[in-house]
């Protein structure tokens, strides 16, 4: 299918334009906008499935490549393609979009036109981030994704929405502007914005260490804020808590992945030498994030804030896996990105459902929801267990791979200490999730307002089903996903290992062993 990626990027925008045009027709009706948005995003998802056909041989090559000159005078190209890394993130985006729109079906009553237009624009921008292979184009989509999210939080958010929206915007903008300086520097150093050309140029004529240090720092800061890595995480709980449900789902599901995707694609891909130098620091920050996020999540009185802090903890695992520089760790990190998108996305949906019914998210207001809402309780428990990392559900696979990868990593002197500390995060996750479940779902109905809450309707169950099926499928048969990304991850690892400072961290001996573990799990 030619121009598949361009179609995927443009289709949501076309939907947005169609909605605006429709609003000028005399027979317009407010409830039609969501249908336009739904049809557009479902179509996008179906078309995006064609991407799977193009990666038959699982090689590291870029597929569905489109490369045309965009602005001649500064040499920017419209260069998009997918490989094994971005493929899954694109699919995650296209899958979550219809779900996000369905979750807003009754929750959003005011200004529906603007709401769905912003969601659709956001979908385009996110798609662009994952498929861009031109640095300026990437930056453009990266920044462009800020604006619709800013509006979504600011207009349809909770009480402190203005504070949260501005904080979200400025935190992210500061980081990405410094990355822009880095991009411009690279352009003048190598006369190109093109990623593929750049990584070749960098390996043939390396940057001097000082420049590479600052470049790694500039790109790393932008992505660390987006992830968010530990000291830069403070925007996240506010943004998550104040955003409307669909906003939280997309924020957790996709926007955070831009950070880890950027670290993997750009920081590790372009600056391998510095990646080795920075790795110990980043690993420490990731572990602090894992433990700190979990501990703070434990004491949150608000369910949504709890899930938000659990994101900090989970994204810490992803970063840990990436910077283990082992195949298992990095594959696990990529896998964990998808898991987090699915599980945390689902958790935010559940929070949205009870918020829509009770207009509160305080844990103390609930209790014994399993009696009035058995469907809700069952599915909520499954999603929570997936987030905790119960075997046979997706979270386990990702965290397990990351921890095995970290244990065998040569990037720090005592990787097992790092692994053991990170592993406590899994225990903490069980503590805060199960404790929250106990107080919200189980036990007697303490608050009479909860006694007659309606259970999930068919729309709500329907939009959860794909996520729950994925949780189970990804938990028992991760091969499908890992096989397609392996070659691309290996390509990044090649650059990491051939860099002057690399070498001591390859662990070929251990690589075969967990393969059998996956295989046994699949049975």
């Amino acid at each position: 299918m030619p121009h598949l990626l361009t179609i995927l990027i443009l289709l949501p925008v076309i939907g947005a334009v169609a909605s605006v045009l429709y609003s000028f027709t005399p027979s317009k009706r407010e409830e039609h906008y969501k249908w336009i948005a739904l049809v557009t995003t479902v179509a996008t998802f179906i078309i995006s499935l064609f991407l799977l056909t193009g990666l038959g041989d699982n090689s590291a090559n870029f597929r569905f490549e489109e490369n045309v000159l965009w602005i001649g005078s500064i040499g920017t190209r419209y260069h998009v393609a997918v490989d094994g890394i971005s493929l899954w993130l694109v699919l995650l985006t296209t899958l979550l979009m219809p779900i996000a729109i369905l979750s807003s079906w009754t929750a959003i009553k005011k200004r529906q036109l603007a709401y769905y237009v912003f969601l659709l624009i956001l979908a385009s921008a996110m798609m662009g981030v994952f498929v861009s292979l031109d640095l300026l184009l990437f930056y453009l989509f990266f920044e462009a994704s800020l604006i619709p999210m800013f509006f979504l939080i600011g207009i349809w958010g909770g009480d402190r929405r203005i504070y949260a929206a501005i904080k979200f915007f400025i935190y992210t903008a500061v980081g990405s502007l410094l990355m822009l300086v880095g991009i411009i520097y690279l352009y003048f150093h190598y006369q190109t914005f093109d990623y593929v050309t750049l990584i070749q140029a960098i390996s043939s004529q390396p940057l001097d260490p000082k420049a590479e240090f600052f470049l790694f720092a500039a790109f790393g800061l932008a992505f660390s804020i987006k992830v968010p890595l530990f000291p830069f995480h403070t925007w996240l709980p506010d943004a998550h808590t104040e955003a409307p449900t669909a906003g939280s789902v997309i924020l957790a599901g996709v926007l955070l992945k831009m950070g880890t995707y950027g670290l993997l694609r750009f920081n590790l891909g372009m600056f391998p030498t510095m990646a080795h130098k920075f790795a110990p620091v980043i690993i420490v920050l990731a572990i602090i994030g894992i433990i700190y996020g979990a501990l703070v999540a434990m004491v949150q009185p608000d369910v949504k804030r709890l899930v938000a802090y659990s994101s900090v903890s989970h994204m810490g695992f992803v970063v840990l896996g990436l910077f283990s520089f082992t195949e298992l760790g990095m594959q696990g990190a990529l896998y964990q990105m998808l898991n987090h998108g699915v599980s945390t996305g689902a958790l935010f949906l559940f929070v949205g459902f009870i918020y829509e019914r009770r207009h509160t998210r305080l844990i103390s207001e609930f209790g014994g929801l399993s009696k009035p809402m058995p469907w809700f309780a069952t599915l909520f428990v499954i999603a929570s267990l997936s987030s905790v990392g119960l075997p046979f559900l997706n979270g386990f696979v990702g965290e397990f791979l990351i921890m095995v990868g970290m244990w065998t990593s040569g990037v720090t002197s005592h990787p097992y200490i790092a692994t053991m500390l990170a592993a406590t995060g899994v225990i903490w996750a069980a503590v805060y999730m199960l404790w929250m479940l106990q107080r919200v779902v189980f036990g007697p109905v303490t608050n009479s307002e909860n006694a007659k809450l309606p259970d999930l309707n068919s729309r709500e169950v329907g939009l959860l089903i794909p996520l729950l099926v994925l949780m189970l499928f990804m938990g028992v048969y991760p091969r499908v996903f890992l096989d397609r990304s392996r070659a691309s991850i290996e390509a990044v690892r090649d650059r990491l290992s051939t860099s002057p400072a690399g070498g001591s961290f390859t662990v070929n001996a251990v690589e075969t062993q967990p393969q059998t573990k996956q295989a046994t799990k699949a049975e």
Partner: protein, 528 residues
């Protein structure tokens, strides 16, 4: 040294070279005549005549650009030169004037102000700006500056019955004439310093550049350059010389503010670049001890400091403003700082290709700034209503979904001023900062982007009040007159076009000024 003093030779008269200036001047005179003789009911014609004159001048400019004019590329003893620096900036000025005209005609009618006077003043101001860009001689630049300034002093105080407008005009006049004096004094000192054996001093920029190392009084040269820097710094509102800006911008009628923020600033930059980048040009490091190198490194250092101060002060103080016009005034100071970053890059290199790229970057930046700034002021004017009554931030509360066209346009302009991708402001910043990175000014660029992040706070604030807050008081959506609608469409389309497909425009603005800048073609002069 057997230099013929240019002043004693009959100048080459080449009328074609100043065709755009003549056209605008003629239009201004015609407008005055119509105003004097036509009955009051027909004075609206003046607007049409002005618009026609400006468009005609734009066509003449493009003709000059495409054909290279008739005859040599300079005229009147190099008083007037023809290069892309002049033509590009001239088009920016004409664009600003056309947009100002579009947004002011209805306002002039509505406020019962004399339309003819307003239009002729606007046209004369435009001529002044054009001369500032086309002057190859400091005297012409000063002349243009004065024509421009006197017209804008009057324009700023055009709403005679309004105290704020009067204050604005008086402040601008006093401080403006003070700075003009600085500039003139600087020119005089430079003239004195550049005298060589057998020839008096010169105000010709190319000759200044060629004589700089033989200057008899280096001290005078330094003082002259410093005073000129102050004079230009005032016009473009750099940090220590910016104090007039907020008061004048706030008090002046909104269409005039739009004009002042976009046009004269660009004109100031055109003349500033001409006088400093080419008058006191880059000298290779081996000649470090020469006077030229000393002057060059001195002004470049000062300019760097000014750029940092201007960006930081403009952005930080803008956060505290509660009046939209004042906020945009500080934002315009900040943008002058960003453009200065590009000018520093242009001044820092002797390589003509890199210098041309940097100059193009500044020119493109000022073009984008003109488009988005006039656009923003168009919306501000519509919301302010007659008499500029509603210009405080609270007046924008919750209008987002009540007047969606205005609110979304204003948001687009704010995002563009902030420098978000897909808007003109982003491309402008990329070019300007790119030029500076290319010259190795990393710290300057990092300060620049951090300033952009600071500016997010106040640009977003307007979006926040428009969309995220609810309106408590009544709101009647303003009617959008045709002229303003056209201006709004032009600026919105312009912001998006320059942001998404800027390639053609950047290529068109690309300057190709090769050293020696404008070769001296005096008849009989020995070729050096």
């Amino acid at each position: 040294m057997n230099f013929f003093p240019g002043q004693s030779i009959l100048p080459i008269i080449n009328w074609a070279l100043i065709a755009p200036e003549i056209i605008v001047c003629a239009a201004a005179v015609i407008v005055m005549l119509i105003d004097a003789f036509a009955p009051p009911t027909q004075r609206w014609i003046t607007g049409g005549v002005s618009l026609g004159g400006l468009l005609f001048a734009a066509i003449a400019t493009i003709w000059l650009w495409v054909s290279g004019g008739i005859g040599p590329a300079d005229a009147f003893n190099q008083m007037i030169v023809l290069d892309e620096l002049r033509l590009g900036f001239t088009l920016v000025f004409l664009l600003v004037s056309i947009l100002t005209l579009l947004i002011s005609t209805v306002w002039v009618q509505g406020e019962n102000l004399p339309a003819g006077e307003f239009h002729s003043l606007l046209l004369f101001a435009t001529v002044g700006m054009m001369l500032m860009a086309s002057g190859g001689d400091l005297v012409i630049i000063f002349l243009g500056l004065e024509i421009l300034s006197i017209a804008t002093y009057v324009l700023a105080g055009f709403r005679r019955t309004d105290v704020r407008s009067n204050e604005s005009s008086l402040k601008y006049f006093i401080l403006g004439s003070f700075s003009s004096a600085f500039l003139l004094y600087g020119i005089a000192l430079t003239y004195g310093a550049t005298g060589v054996a057998g020839a008096p001093g010169t105000t010709n920029i190319a000759i200044i550049a060629s004589r700089i190392n033989e200057a008899r009084y280096p001290g005078l040269l330094f003082a002259g350059a410093a005073m000129m820097l102050v004079g230009f710094g005032f016009k473009i509102a750099t940090a220590p010389f910016h104090v007039w800006t907020p008061d004048v911008y706030e008090g002046a009628p909104t269409p005039v503010t739009a004009f002042m923020a976009a046009g004269p600033k660009a004109a100031g930059f055109a003349a500033f670049i001409r006088a400093f980048v080419f008058g006191f040009p880059f000298v290779v490091a081996s000649a470090n001890s020469s006077i030229g190198a000393g002057v060059h490194s001195a002004w470049l250092t000062v300019l760097m400091v000014l750029a940092v101060m201007t960006m930081t002060l403009g952005n930080v103080v803008a956060i505290a403003q509660n009046n939209v016009k004042r906020m945009l005034a500080y934002s315009s100071i900040a943008h002058a700082g960003y453009a200065l970053v590009g000018m520093v890059a242009a001044g820092a290199t002797g390589d003509p290709a890199q210098r041309n790229t940097a100059i193009t970057a500044v020119m493109f930046y000022l073009l984008t700034y003109a488009v988005m700034n006039v656009g923003a002021f168009t919306v501000v004017q519509l919301i302010a209503r007659s008499g500029d009554r509603r210009t405080s931030i609270e007046d924008y509360n919750g209008i987002g979904f009540k007047s969606p066209v205005l609110a979304f346009s204003l948001s687009l302009f704010m995002l563009s001023l902030l420098g978000m991708p897909l808007t003109a402001g982003f491309m402008g910043k990329i070019l300007v900062f790119g030029a500076a990175v290319n010259q190795g000014y990393y710290v300057l660029v990092i300060i620049g982007v951090l300033n952009s992040a600071i500016s997010a706070y106040y640009y977003l604030r307007l979006i926040v009040v428009m969309f995220f807050k609810e309106r408590t008081t009544a709101w009647n959506a303003p009617k959008i007159p045709a002229g303003l609608a056209v201006a709004l469409i032009l600026t919105v389309v312009g912001v998006l076009y320059l942001g998404i497909f800027p390639g053609r425009i950047i290529n068109a603005l690309q300057t190709r000024i090769e050293p020696p800048l404008f070769t001296i073609r005096l008849p009989g002069a020995p070729s050096k």
